[in-house]
Symmetry: D5
Subunit: 143 residues, 10 copies
């Protein structure tokens, strides 16, 4: 059974682009092996991640990520069984921090400052639909 | 929670393009800070404004605008929770008074003379959909 | 409240293109002032007219037209509340009598000889949708 | 083709229960012969009538009633093709003026004082659904 | 056009049952004259009111109530055009504070302590549906 | 925002009815304070729990429960934003182990031996709908 | 494939109850052997018959009945593939001529005088639904 | 009322292209006068014809065609009331026998050998939709 | 994943009630162990069986049954993923051969003689819905 | 009646491209004669085949293929009645093993290693829709 899980968390201390590179590299290696795909966004000190794959695997990966001391305050924001993946080309894509994105955040949330904690599941789906429809927003590693 | 509120009001005395410029400037500055977006239309002595953003903020802004002595007879015409903003590119766009617009007013209301007080919520949604789909009708300040 | 009313009637005596020109001119002048829009068709000795605008106004105009001795046997064929006008560019367009139209009549009715009295409301909506989507069928006055 | 037509009109001069009895009697006799059914309501100086039957017949009857000098300001409020009649048991039922009805008017309109001119087609359908579902509101003649 | 408007506000100072009785009496007298119906709830220092009636009237009444110094922090929570009123029997019903209601609040909100500010429009509609379906929760004045 | 989260986990060692009583008591005390409601089921060495309440709170509670060493292998099985709670009468109800339940498990899963890990979100919703519709299946503490 | 076919025809000469009895007896014997079910109505000199069964068989039976000189002017009024029969208890039921039926005819057609030729397929379905839901209208042979 | 009737029949003896030419010519002349449109297909010794027009006329034409000794085993396969004709440009189009058509037959039926008797109404609608959308399949007379 | 599979087959030689008893006993023992539920019908020399349970298990059981020399000509007639079982109370119920059933067969098929091979998936679902809704048609073993 | 049947099976021993060529050739010859169309995929030691055509024929072919000793562990994964074939141009197309397909497998299943046994019917439909929409994935024989 394919599922999609979206959660937010806060960075526990300031993270540099090296830290992100590190998280991405491990994610990409592990997820490829696990058949997990998705995207990650870090902005305003908040992570937003979407994970998709087999229900058991996504659960195992999510509950492993929870142990990572680099973030805290996890909150599941959306979860659903799916027929097809949205991010099948990305073992873990990075949604880049750009001016464009500010506009995108604003479109789906209360503020141009990224705050996924305040977004509804439906707004998050709208947000990821635009991200996946506009590949220039996705990168393999931080610029 | 994102919401959209549309209301009409009547100018309390004749307003010139300086007055509108002034309202727009304050709106644009404040709304950008507040994460509020929308559009404003003044025609036939009647304001029609659509405000979108966080429910609490939109409510605060709307109830502040009500105090403004430059208009009177406020009437909420539409209100709904939304998933995505329609005017995310406009902290407050001005819907310009042109011959084209006359046609647009006529399409959605009883008369070519703009009268939002007589429009249903559904007609207003049709009207704003055309406005936002046709950016040439939106300006930053009066010509 | 915007409404659309469609009716048919029979010419009470043979009418020439001058008569039609006269009806159209009065209609266009009055309807523009009244915020009424629509289209008129005369074929096979039968009028088919669609009127749209404010509910009260359309009712007043329709009940005035009923008094006109140039036609008889009025029959309301369709009536509905609408969100947007279909003929907002036409204070009263004339649906021209051409070979093309024969085809159009046939598509939505029992016969190539125009007989709106036998058409259902849904067929009439199909007919007017094609007319409005194909502006070459609409004229300001008889050729 | 079966249709339903609803209109309102104003009494042209004050009418007593004898006048109503007279209108009802003629209506019941004529409508039975014509296969027309429906209901009539007089309140607050306003008639609200729903006529149902064959499209041609309902049109002929409606356009005849228009000539009646006992009322004026006719306004078609709803019209639709139907599959089955709602008032098949009533050649012309009278919706009685009672305290109960006040409540019913208020439920579907702006005011306890009956004002069908301000009611939407959908509210009118709600109103007649309750009337027909509650036969005690229908009479053969004024009490 | 019939509309329904729901808003919350906070009491500006502690109010006793005499104050509520006073608000209810004025509301009932005025609303009956205005053709306005609805319900009011005071719990946890928060008012929740639903107003229904003609669009212009509801707007006038709401914008008048806003001036009342007995409450502050108004927030529109729901607004819609309706076909029929829900509270046609109540010029202004009081939703009584009881143990039962605690359960009802909890069912539709985050907490047994009444907090309409956190409720979605859809939860509020669920809440009022249960209230109106269970008349024992509605009173004419405080016990 | 109200949400509902359903997860399964495995008991890490055999648990007696005292352990369950202990879990239930803490849950009921904490959840009542937190405005959390739901139900818990232990069968075949597997927990199935549904938690409902404010999104932030449910997330905090769920991520706390994850730390509990009495269970392992957590798997989120369903999650959704809701308008109204299903278990508003239960701070944490116990779905009792009975012969009846075997039938219920079989109806929604592959086997009479309870295995929520193999159930789809939709089957789980069917299962909880029957549980909540049949209060005799819910208890305050183990028999 | 199960189908349902409804047609009308006119009696070619006046038929007495003996003729009907004869038609019914042959129909019932043949149809039972053929797995055909349905109902027959004779009123106002018009037959209305609904036949249901295997597509090939219904076609064969219908095209045989067409040869019968006792009727003329056949007109197919409705035809559809079905999942279940409506008249599975009747190899050929007779819809009796009674005062009640007059009311039923009027409800679904232009006139109390039975005229299926003017009924739409949807009205006919409404008519047969009431017939089958009200077994007292069905008989094995003329009274 | 516009309807569409589709039936199949078998040629009673082998027919040459002269016979088809003759059938088409008579059909085109008669149907144009009758306001009937449609298409005819002869393949594998089986006719498939779709007739559209006024309900009475289509019925009259169909029941006349039934008398034609050039075919037998008629079977109505589809019948429906329509809002607009599909073949308004063809008084009777001939669906040509080509290799392309084999593919088309196969797509909607059990076999590349044309067998409309085995096709469901829905498959037939799919088939005619492709035919009408691909005018090269329609001819005025056999090649 | 829960599925439901329906197939028909023909008895390869005449079977007596002992044979059926034997099939049922093995089915009930095996299916209970396998978590398979369903119903079996033997009439007119044709088996109709519905099997429900885990997708893998149902497939294994079905492909085992295929080997059974007591039947031949297997044909899958319906298959679907389900949320809940219909026959959760029956490891294998026998749909008894009675006069009542003849009526039931006729309702959903071409003939009172049971012929599931000619039934559509939708008719079969209608058939099983009535069976399961009317427990008197289900038995543990032949009478 | 047209149906579509999808099943998976495992190769019973390693198969080379000659074996596949052989299976395809027999399939193409037989299926063309039988009016069967479809596609076959072999990857990761697993066959996935979709068969479409007349219900009886597809059943006969499927139950014949089951006897083939070159595969085992058959599992029906999807089955439905259809209006039109998806693979009408392919008596049996081969879905080629390419890097592209890996992506396609991943999009609809848990893993880039092809595992149709774990795919839902809906995911399989998504998968075949993409295959048929992208003909470059279909071949007549192994490269
Ligand atoms: C916000 C965030 C997202 C992460 N996403 C993933 C992920 O998608 N996949 C993954 O394997 N690890 C992810 N990690 C890293 C894991 O927590 C953990 O460090 C990593 O899986 C360990 O990898 P290793 O087993 O290669 O050492 C993430 C960490 C953080 C902080
Ligand atoms: C029709 C109308 C629309 C307005 N819209 C806005 C608005 O969207 N945002 C805003 O901040 N002020 C708006 N205003 C102006 C406010 O009433 C008020 O003057 C302004 O917010 C004060 O700005 P300041 O705090 O910068 O002095 C509007 C005024 C009018 C008359
Ligand atoms: C078929 C028909 C359609 C007409 N349509 C309109 C119309 O749309 N608007 C209108 O004002 N008059 C219309 N008229 C003309 C009116 O009946 C009437 O002659 C006219 O409104 C009087 O115009 P006046 O007030 O300028 O003299 C129509 C007349 C006919 C016969
Ligand atoms: C409000 C109103 C409603 C009427 N409704 C009907 C009606 O439904 N049927 C009818 O025949 N006459 C109706 N009439 C009366 C007609 O206008 C006319 O007087 C009557 O049909 C003449 O009847 P007679 O032909 O028997 O003289 C109505 C009149 C009024 C004022
Ligand atoms: C929470 C609240 C709700 C109220 N609701 C209404 C109302 O529904 N109708 C109304 O006329 N007044 C309402 N009022 C009172 C008005 O603010 C105002 O005091 C009142 O209309 C004045 O009545 P008067 O014109 O009879 O003096 C409300 C006041 C408060 C604080
Ligand atoms: C399967 C399971 C379900 C639990 N559910 C809840 C719960 O709904 N709420 C809760 O507060 N604790 C729950 N707990 C217990 C928590 O893990 C933890 O022991 C408890 O909240 C601590 O309570 P305390 O703060 O009163 O010591 C659960 C534990 C298990 C093993
Ligand atoms: C209006 C009408 C309806 C009929 N319906 C049926 C029918 O449903 N089944 C049938 O077998 N015959 C029906 N018949 C009679 C046939 O036309 C024919 O007379 C009869 O099938 C011959 O029966 P036999 O083969 O027993 O002589 C009907 C005749 C008429 C006039
Ligand atoms: C398969 C088939 C289809 C036919 N279709 C039509 C048709 O659509 N219209 C028509 O008038 N005649 C059609 N006919 C011919 C009629 O049966 C009859 O011969 C013809 O209408 C007589 O024409 P006439 O009145 O000009 O002599 C068809 C005949 C066959 C065999
Ligand atoms: C029509 C038919 C239906 C059957 N249904 C089942 C069934 O549902 N379950 C089952 O285990 N065996 C079923 N069987 C019997 C199996 O083919 C086989 O004989 C049986 O499973 C062997 O049981 P055993 O393993 O106990 O010897 C059926 C046989 C027939 C002919
Ligand atoms: C995975 C698989 C798929 C097959 N698909 C088909 C098929 O679609 N049609 C077919 O006739 N044979 C198919 N076969 C082959 C049959 O099992 C059998 O060998 C073949 O029909 C015999 O053909 P013949 O009658 O020409 O000897 C398939 C075999 C396998 C292993």
């Amino acid at each position: 059974m394919l599922v999609q899980l979206t959660y937010a968390s806060r960075v526990s201390k300031t993270l540099g682009s090296e830290d992100i590179k590190n998280i991405l590299q491990h994610s990409q290696t592990n997820n490829q092996a696990d058949g997990v795909t998705g995207a990650l966004c870090l902005s305003n000190g908040i992570f937003l991640q979407i994970l998709e794959g087999d229900r058991n695997t996504v659960n195992r990966v999510y509950h492993k990520i929870l142990q990572d001391s680099r973030h805290k305050d996890p909150a599941i924001l959306d979860y659903q069984e799916i027929t097809a993946r949205q991010f099948s080309d990305w073992s873990m894509g990075l949604i880049a921090k750009t001016e464009d994105n500010k506009q995108l955040f604003l479109k789906y949330s209360s503020n141009a400052d990224f705050d996924p904690y305040s977004m509804s599941a439906e707004s998050l789906r709208g947000f990821f639909d635009e991200v996946v429809g506009n590949v220039r927003w996705l990168r393999k590693s931080p610029a």
